[in-house]
């Protein structure tokens, strides 16, 4: 069931990707290209706008879900770091294990996201999305074992 839904999900979005990029390439250059050399600040808004637009259009639903988790990890990591800066790092191993748990989970999730993205399929001929998820689970288990062991 899962792969079917996946496939249905992705085919239109892949088309959207190509559309969006061509649309971008087609529509953007005439307007800001001449302006870009003079005004950097106005262009910067457009850049952010474009990135956001591309993200909303081209990302499948599941990947967005993964991204929410990523955002959560970033927030947790930032809070931990802020607390460490404000309150000192006395149990340094506790700080390290908590912080590196978020960092490690973050990069593992990014890896999962990379491996399950349709456009990266050529890079990973031997990794199916299911395999990627199983790897992700195993790696996360190892990570959490180490973190729990290190936090004492």
């Amino acid at each position: 069931m899962a792969p079917k839904k996946n496939a249905r999900d992705i085919t239109p979005s892949a088309a959207a990707t190509s559309q969006a990029s061509t649309a971008n390439a087609g529509s953007v250059p005439p307007q800001p290209k001449s302006v870009a050399a003079k005004r950097g600040a106005a262009n910067w808004d457009a850049v952010l706008q474009n990135i956001y637009q591309h993200y909303v259009d081209a990302t499948p639903q599941r990947t967005k879900l993964v991204d929410v988790f990523l955002l959560f990890l970033v927030v947790v990591g930032a809070i931990q770091f802020l607390y460490c800066v404000l309150a000192g790092n006395f149990p340094f191993n506790a700080f390290l294990s908590g912080f590196s748990a978020t960092v490690g989970q973050f990069v593992l999730t990014i890896s999962l996201r990379i491996q399950t993205t349709e456009s990266n399929k050529n890079d990973f001929p031997s990794v199916s999305p299911e395999r990627a998820f199983a790897d992700y689970v195993v790696c996360s288990l190892i990570l959490h074992f180490f973190c729990v062991n290190f936090i004492n």
């Binding site: 953007v28 590196s100 890079d123 990794v127």
Partner: protein
Amino acid sequence: MTVKTQDTLAAVTGPNTRTLLRVVILLLIAGAAVSSRLFSVIRFESIIHEFDPWFNFRATKYLVANGFYKFWDWFDDRTWYPLGRVTGGTLYPGLMVTSGAIYHALRALAVPVDIRNICVLLAPAFSGLTAYASYLLTNEMVTSPSAGLLAAIFMGIAPGYISRSVAGSYDNEAIAIFLLVFTFFLWIKALKLGSMLWGALCALFYGYMVASWGGYAFITNLLPVHALVLIGMGRYSTRLYVSYTTWYALGTLASMQIPFVGFLPVKTSEHMPALGIFGFLQLIGFIQYVRSAISGRQFHTFLATLILATFAIGLGGLVALTSLGYAKIHIPIIASVSEHQPTAWPSFFFDLNFLIWLFPAGVYLCFQNLRDEHVFIVVYAIFGSYFAGVMVRLMLTLTPVVCVAAAMAVSQILDTYLLVKEPDAEDLAREAADSAKKTSGGLRAMKKPKVGIYTNLSKVVITSAMTIYLVMFVAHCTWVTSNAYSSPSVVLASRMPDGSQHIIDDYREAYQWLRQNTKEDAKIMSWWDYGYQIGGMADRPTLVDNNTWNNTHIATVGKAMSSREEVSYPIMRQHEVDYVLVVFGGLLGYSGDDINKFLWMVRIAEGIWPDEIKERDFFTQRGEYRVDDGATDTMKNSLMYKMSYYNYASLFPAGQVTDRVRGVRLPDQGPVLNTVEEAFTSENWIIRIYKVKDLDNVGRDHFSAAAFDRGQKKKKSQKKRGARVLRVD
């Protein structure tokens, strides 16, 4: 040779036979690797060699006897006598835990083997695994499976690796080289597949490596450099991101589990490259993502802003970290001077024979089809050669890459010249034209010339030349292993005039005497070289040992050895020393004795007490270091000199007292000892043990007491009263 049999057989049968052959060959290689390391066990006995392994052996015995948790927080009060050593937190536990696990596994299988035999034979067993690991690593590099088999046999018997892994050399390197090669194999595998699981496996074996050897820093720096070179070549890929970040995130956490390593991976500078590349990869991954999202012009704006922001944040972070004092915590690296010697050319040829000149050829071949894994070999080759050139000991880390690269070169030659089929001229011309059209740009070295070998004569000549080289390599390796690397330093072997072997076993004789004839907690003072052996063989507490973590304590022993007796005796009393052990090779011509090391004791003591010990005082006016009549007074009165030459003159007829190491005549009248007395001297006078006297019963100092005992009282009693001081109660 293997290729030839494979090819002819493959024509007859198929892949099954090849697999069978491969398994048989690998088993034979493992057999060769194990059996070539057994010279010393067969010639002498199954015993631990050298100095450091004695501590590892002692720690392993403690682990086996007391269990893992007690070993993990073991406070050893029988070394560094007044201080003790927190052993659980100051060693790499991988070696001991490995042999402990093997011990228990064998017990569970109802094969009860003594722990000593497991420790002695651990290194040969792991060398078989190393051969297999280098087979796997080489197979990742080239398509031809013969290269892997060649690399396995090279790695199995290359003297550069055997020197550190003969039976009885129970040192960390015994398992570390296997872990090094296997970690590299897993890294290459992870990089090629871009798989998280292989990355995690790589991290786990990296963690095992960290638990085993301090040389793990080599991996920690080589993988980031490889990643950096790949990025610099414009070969960043999502596979690199996945494999590197998985390795780093899991591997760093794994390495921090070892108490000896602790927080080092986030604090010291040698771990910073890995962290830096980790951050850099995040940045590049993000930039790559954005690049796919927006157009080129916008991307440039974005990139410029991002780089500026990163630079600002990085600068701020650096300043913050420095002010927080992270960088101030300085962990001194114990850098022993003797291991920093540069390597001479002959030792490259001695340790690697014909691999050393095939090694550059193999690296050159890596350039020909430069894939990601070949870049790794190139980077490893450059770094490994540099470090091996700087330090003799690091020949060990160079050997794996030499074996892999040389195997690639040899198999390339054999693959080319062992092809029985003659090339078709027209076919080749067409192919050549095609390839010339295709590869018009790029490096010239990357174009492969399409040439075939037509005559059978050239094939036969080249092949037989290679075969002769291979056979000579085997002969050389066996000869080197047998003659240079298979001598235990505990027993000294010499030849009698009739060719029979004579074993000089003074060390164990003396240590056995200590073990049987002294109190259980009698403290032994000796120079630090013998600390581990005394702890391991004599089982007595020592003041200093080979783990030179406290320099002041070593200097104290140096001061006691190099001072006059009046100065040394209080020092020895303060440290509750019962026995003093010195090594003296004058009778036998054993050059590694304490008189030859004496200047180091003086120098180390001078570093702490420059007013009391001066190196200059031990040299004559003309700057000579002499032990005979012309020796300086400071030298003659030092405790070490007196203990070494005490009673030595009684062995010889008058006027012929000779020191065979220094090659000098000694005075007939030997030194006199007042505060210590001779307790034991071994058969060949190599080890001399002295007992520190107790305080005098009637409160005299030892000199007047000894003088009284010798009857040296003044014949004419002097009536005159000497200058006396007022008695103070």
